[in-house]
Point group: C2
Chain length 287, copies 2
């Protein structure tokens, strides 16, 4: 159940660990990156943890290389976890047919529809199995101080995992999140595949815009979206729907949506504002 460390890489004064472990929820070996900031090297010190959930097609490597989170995390003393986006190699028919469903596109849900229910359990993996193995393997991580962020499909993941688990995460933020998946082509394809077309309650239960309507209290949520983001223009993200729902439910207090001029959907966008999202998490992790 514990990790195999396949590489230890010096980064911004800390260490980026490349880890693999046999996961039961996803029924396969899972790879991830864990950044331990320099503060974690001091004996007896525990550091807070920021989960970063990646977008479609990505692994935990992309953001560790191109997202620039280590820069801020090193300064603030926060560990960053970069998990993978789906199980891999389950040999389910159709798994590798599209880039927006199956491999690299787990959507942070527990699939209930056969054959995907055999391992596409990224919700359980991220909220239960992975934290359990992490906190039992790394004494340096403070299990009582955890925040979450993510990009695109991972922004959807961050928002829904936060909203579905009050108290589990100290704060949430998102880059270009798929904020209302039941009303966009990406989300509809994924939820149809993982839950079935007739499971509307399940769909709503993993839709941030639906979930925020039931949230009580302030959200303290930061969302960045680029105005040059083609997926935003194609209405895959729909952040305005989320903001509108939060307002209607009276929960918009502390929700900040920043429309960043000209920025696209890429890691260049995220790198430019990664420091802000780490600072946002730090505000609540060190409160």
């Amino acid at each position: 159940m514990s990790f195999t460390t396949t590489a230890t890489i010096a980064s911004f004064g800390g260490k980026l660990l490349k880890l693999t472990h046999k996961a039961t929820s996803t029924n396969c070996d899972m790879a991830l990156n864990l950044y331990l900031p320099p503060q974690a090297a001091k004996s007896g010190t525990k550091v807070p943890v920021l989960f970063y959930l990646s977008g479609l097609t990505c692994t935990g490597d992309n953001c560790a290389e191109k997202g620039f989170f280590q820069h801020g995390a090193s300064e603030k003393g926060i560990a960053v976890v970069y998990p993978d986006t789906s199980p891999r190699g389950l040999k389910i028919e159709g798994e590798d047919e599209g880039w927006d469903f199956g491999t690299g596109a787990g959507f942070y849900v527990d699939a209930t529809k056969d054959p995907w229910s055999k391992g596409y359990k990224m919700y359980s993996y991220i909220t239960e199995e992975l934290p359990k193995v992490l906190f039992s393997s790394f004494d340096q991580l403070d299990s009582s101080k955890v925040s979450i962020t993510g990009h695109s499909m991972g922004g959807h993941g961050a928002l829904t995992l936060f909203l579905k688990n009050p108290g589990m995460y100290k704060s949430v933020s998102a880059f270009a999140p798929i904020a209302n998946p039941i009303n966009c082509p990406w989300g509809q394809k994924a939820f149809k595949g993982y839950f079935g077309e007739d499971q509307q309650a399940k769909w709503a239960d993993h839709d941030a815009t639906e979930l925020v309507k039931k949230w009580e209290g302030p959200l303290n949520l930061l969302i960045d979206v680029g105005t040059g983001d083609n997926f935003y223009k194609q209405k895959q993200l729909l952040p305005e729907n989320f903001i509108e729902a939060a307002k209607e439910a009276g929960n918009d207090s502390g929700v900040t949506l920043r429309m960043q001029p000209d920025y696209d959907h890429s890691y260049f966008f995220m790198a430019s504002f990664a420091d802000d999202h780490v600072a946002h998490a730090a505000k609540y992790l060190f409160a």
Copy 2:
């Protein structure tokens, strides 16, 4: 002769331009990235320029995505040029046989040996043709304020181009440079191929350790090398030879070699110290 802009990407408040142009020195189309910091957007403003020379196998894309020079360059108001590392597609026999010679491995020299002399002229390209086209195409760039840096083979490039052209660059720095190519396998293979085995004077004329012996005055040079760098351990870099030669020639004043504990040869290493190298350049560019 001018550039085609294939993409404009928002990055750290500025713009990363993906450019291509037909180059005469290298006898082919050349691609590069140009980062214009936010300060360059103000009408009438001219910003200094930092050339970043990449290492073996890389294009101008790798460091633009993973090196995080844009972070410091945005803050200081410096443009960054990320050229390619060789001509491409010249159809010279053997061009793509190895990763350390030919394509992706131009070594910033003008080859004199046939058939490489047909286009492997990266020295002329970087010191003459490219700056000419850049400064005539982009009014925002200050041609009187130029510095240079680079990584590995590009660190060799930065050191030798600086040392061979007094006054052309305001400052120089390098990450894990091939500092004494005539005494390491990479350099020997490249110089044998591009110049011929019997051209020892040519070899010495492109060896930073040989060149520094003739340099007069202070160097104001920053070099970072990771102690976990396998190429350093394999004696491909030999930075100590350079430092020793500078000392013997009385030119070590202002030469700083920092051995960074545990860092490897990767972009994780560069990203960790990119801000320092931009600050080093800024000190001389804004002097």
